[in-house]
């Protein structure tokens, strides 16, 4: 079947409803400060699909969320307040992650997933938000959620997904996500008191911290490590306070923060080594994304320093440790459970294993970043199967565009990518001058791609031919993408 546009009629005008997605930050209205909502909407406008900064949306949102705690960090008078200020960013960070994930899903046409993620954000706002304007904020949030769902583009308007096997990639992503979630769950299980709390202290130390003005924590340690509570502090309002100590770390958040910082380092390495990027001034959004990555990582590490585990982590962390016993476990005034150190030794072992695994993963990430610019290894002979597109992308239009993208990716790999000011035809002519064997498959591919791209004309048989032409291009390019092969000079 050939789809043609009726030339006698002007193309139908349609409202670009993807702009409705900009309403998504309003979902968190009852939880987030107004400046964050407004700034998030601006970031979404700047990172709409197709814009250069689109890939950095999450990091830009993280930067915004992290910026909110910067004044608190600057105003901190001691280390405990610094940690407390860092922790105030955690709900915001989690919120923008949900926001970004939900939007990404909606833009990809996965309405259920996107609605679910934004719904979680709304639920979080309902549970954590407060004040007289809560109802209004929730109402506006619900309305914004509906607008965002309406803004999910139709199949023809969706940004194309990159080639490379959508199905398998998604499966692996799910597996990796489930594994990470399990790992983090294990890491957040209640663990015994770190030995650091048992160490001898020469003099009485006293640490006070005020978090959000709501709670006051006070603890005094004796010379033998036992707790000594001053007179009058034995009421229920007095909580135990674990002294801030670099050895008392919430490992999962430290690892996550460290990974983010490492990711920033990998990106910098890639940016300075990549031939395409070398000499090009970094764009504003690249710098902002880098700052977001570093700030988020720093906040996670800083905020994970264990001040008051019980207040921080509902699931325990190092909290709910009771007793003034010789093991150094703290007793909670007003009652608390006792978790003997010996019975939970296996959790520490598991934690260590998980920590080692994550370190290995981080090392692998660095290795991948370091070798990112190496040409791909030659593959076995034979036609390279094109990836199967997702079911919703099986229209002929999308198949042809994906085939062209695939060919373009193959050419880019050997330094024959399309320059921004080149038309597809000019690019093909230049490539054909450099590699004459590619002239015919590129001509065939462009004869099918150009009507799709600029005329919305496609046919099923044309899509199959385009895929065959893209395979030919990939096959002809493969020998020169091998390491050591001479890359042809650009024409």
């Amino acid at each position: 079947m050939t789809m043609t546009a009726d030339p006698a009629r002007s193309p139908p005008r349609s409202f670009d409803r993807s702009w409705l997605l900009l309403a998504a930050p309003l979902v968190g209205l009852s939880l987030w400060p107004l400046w964050l909502v407004a700034a998030s909407m601006a970031v979404l406008a700047l990172t709409r699909p197709g814009r250069p900064a689109a890939g950095a949306r999450l990091l830009l949102l993280l930067l915004l969320a992290g910026l909110g705690s910067v004044p608190g960090l600057l105003a901190a008078s001691d280390f405990s307040e610094l940690v407390a200020a860092a922790r105030t960013a955690f709900p915001l960070l989690l919120g923008v992650v949900l926001l970004s994930g939900g939007l990404r899903a909606l833009e990809g046409g996965r309405r259920f997933l996107g609605t679910g993620e934004l719904g979680l954000l709304l639920l979080g706002a309902a549970l954590l938000g407060g004040g007289p304007g809560l109802s209004l904020g929730l109402g506006a949030g619900l309305f914004a959620l509906l607008l965002a769902v309406l803004g999910a583009p139709g199949p023809e308007d969706r940004a194309l997904r990159p080639l490379g096997g959508q199905g398998p990639a998604l499966r692996w992503l799910l597996v990796a996500g489930a594994g990470s979630a399990a790992l983090l769950t294990v890491l957040s299980l209640p663990l015994p008191t770190p030995p650091a709390w048992e160490t001898e202290r020469g003099e009485l130390s006293r640490v006070q911290a005020r978090i959000g003005g709501d709670f006051e924590f006070e603890r005094q340690l004796g010379s033998n490590g036992e707790n000594r509570y001053p007179q009058g502090l034995g009421s229920n309002q007095t909580r135990r306070y674990a002294p801030v100590d670099s050895r008392n770390l919430d490992n999962d958040k430290v690892i996550l923060g460290g990974l983010l910082v490492m990711l920033a380092v990998v990106w910098i390495m890639w940016r300075t080594r990549s031939p395409r990027s070398r000499g090009r001034r970094p764009a504003w959004w690249e710098l902002a994304a880098l700052a977001g990555l570093l700030l988020t990582g720093g906040l996670l590490v800083l905020g994970s320093l264990t001040g008051d585990p019980a207040a921080l982590s509902p699931s325990g962390g190092y909290a709910k440790l009771g007793g003034d016993g010789p093991a150094g476990l703290l007793s909670e005034q007003g009652g608390g459970s006792i978790r003997p150190y010996q019975k939970q030794e296996w959790l520490n072992t598991l934690n260590t294993v998980a920590f080692a695994l994550l370190l290995l993963a981080a090392a692998a990430l660095v290795w991948v970043g370091w070798h990112l610019t190496r040409p791909a290894q030659p593959e076995a002979d034979g036609p390279e199967p094109l990836p199967t597109p997702a079911p919703e992308d099986t229209t002929a239009l999308h198949r042809v565009r994906m085939a062209y993208r695939s060919a373009l990716a193959s050419l880019t790999q050997v330094g024959l990518g399309r320059a921004p000011n080149e038309t597809p035809g000019e690019h093909a002519a230049r490539v054909a001058l450099t590699l004459p064997d590619l002239a015919e498959p590129l001509r065939q591919l462009l004869a099918l791609y150009v009507p799709v791209r600029y005329g919305l004309l496609a046919s099923e048989e044309g899509a199959a031919q385009a895929e065959a032409a893209a395979r030919s291009v990939a096959r002809l390019v493969r020998p020169i993408s091998a390491p050591g092969a001479a890359v042809p000079a650009l024409g």
């Binding site: 546009a5 890939g55 990518g417 000011n421 038309t423 597809p424 001509r443 009507p451 005329g455 919305l456």
Partner: protein
């Protein structure tokens, strides 16, 4: 690239393609090796615009105009512009008839299908400006009475860029009325030899007959307007024009009329290929002929001998073409 494998175009676009091929072949009987300029001239005429041919003497400017007129079956008038030419010599004049006691309008040579304004820059600005209304509105007003010009109406003007003695540079407003400014250019050695052989006997222009009629031209113009231009290509055309305005060597860049011209000529070029949609190559092909004569360069650039065409080339290099991204460069 070629578009030979494209889906079959609609019937009226196929007719445009046949029409263009026939005219092009006919013109090629007179002019050797001028397919590109003939194609752009045809695109300009299909868009409903007027053409300014600028080149050295003897390169075939007048011959191109005559061949086009003959091929399209348009009535053809030629006016040799001189410093003593008056506006009424072009547009017409009201003459008093004693017998009836009334003034009668005697149409000037502008009332024709194709007017060749030869060496237009030799006429005074007043006479040049007499063409403004005719070219812009398709009408002439004399003694308060407006007279419609026949349709189709095309002006092909020529000027010599090397002679400045006794010439009057066309004002910007007049230049903007010309859709395209084209240069015919010298033929190659082989083409010149071929031309000598062809013109040894009688000149083929004398026997050149029409291959289409004015009604075919009007139908083709209607078909061209239906060629699809995507929103992003419209944006691309407008961005190119806007970029000429911000170019450091330009004091006055292209205006909205230039963007309209880019869109129209790109549609015509697509139709000449039998395509029902515009591609970026059409816009890039049209841009030099549309933008260069609309630019007013800074004095420093003029003194340095910078041609406007190089500014247009800069603009084309700087503006990204709307196409699928090669790769998300640097995407995090």
């Amino acid at each position: 690239m070629t578009h030979a494998d494209l889906p079959t175009p609609p019937a009226d676009l196929a007719a445009v393609e046949r029409f263009a091929r026939a005219v092009g072949d006919n013109v090629a009987r007179v002019l050797v090796g001028k397919e590109a300029v003939t194609r752009l001239t045809l695109a300009g005429i299909l868009t409903g615009g007027h053409i300014l041919l600028e080149d050295a003497p003897g390169t075939g400017k007048t011959m191109l105009a005559r061949a086009i007129a003959a091929s399209l079956g348009l009535t053809f008038r030629r006016v040799q512009f001189t410093p003593d030419l008056l506006p009424s010599d072009v547009t017409g004049v009201s003459v008093y008839r004693p017998a009836t006691g009334t003034f009668e309008f005697v149409p000037g040579p502008i009332f024709t299908g194709l007017l060749l304004a030869d060496e237009i820059n030799r006429a005074t600005p007043k006479t040049q400006s007499a063409l403004l209304e005719a070219m812009g509105e398709g009408q002439v007003t004399e003694s308060g009475v407006t007279h419609r010009l026949p349709q189709p109406f095309v002006v092909i003007a020529t000027q010599n860029p090397v002679e400045h003695e006794g010439t009057y540079r066309l004002p910007e407003a007049q230049l903007d009325r010309f859709l395209l400014k084209l240069s015919v250019g010298y033929p190659s050695l082989e083409e010149e030899v071929q031309m000598l052989g062809r013109l040894q006997g009688a000149h083929p222009i004398d026997t050149l007959g029409p291959v289409a009629g004015p009604e075919d031209l009007l139908a083709a113009r209607a078909a061209v307007k239906a060629v699809r231009v995507s929103d992003e290509l419209r944006r691309y055309a407008a961005a190119l024009t806007a970029r000429t305005r911000s170019h450091p060597q330009v004091t006055l860049g292209g205006g909205p009329r230039a963007s309209l011209a880019l869109q129209g000529v790109a549609q015509a070029l697509a139709a000449l290929d039998g395509r029902a949609f515009v591609v970026p190559d059409d816009i890039k092909a049209a841009a030099p002929a549309i933008l260069s004569h609309r630019l007013s360069l800074r004095i420093e650039a003029r003194l340095a001998g910078t041609p406007p065409e190089s500014v247009v080339a800069d603009v084309l290099r700087a503006e990204p073409v709307p196409a699928d991204p090669a790769q998300a460069a640097g995407a995090l």
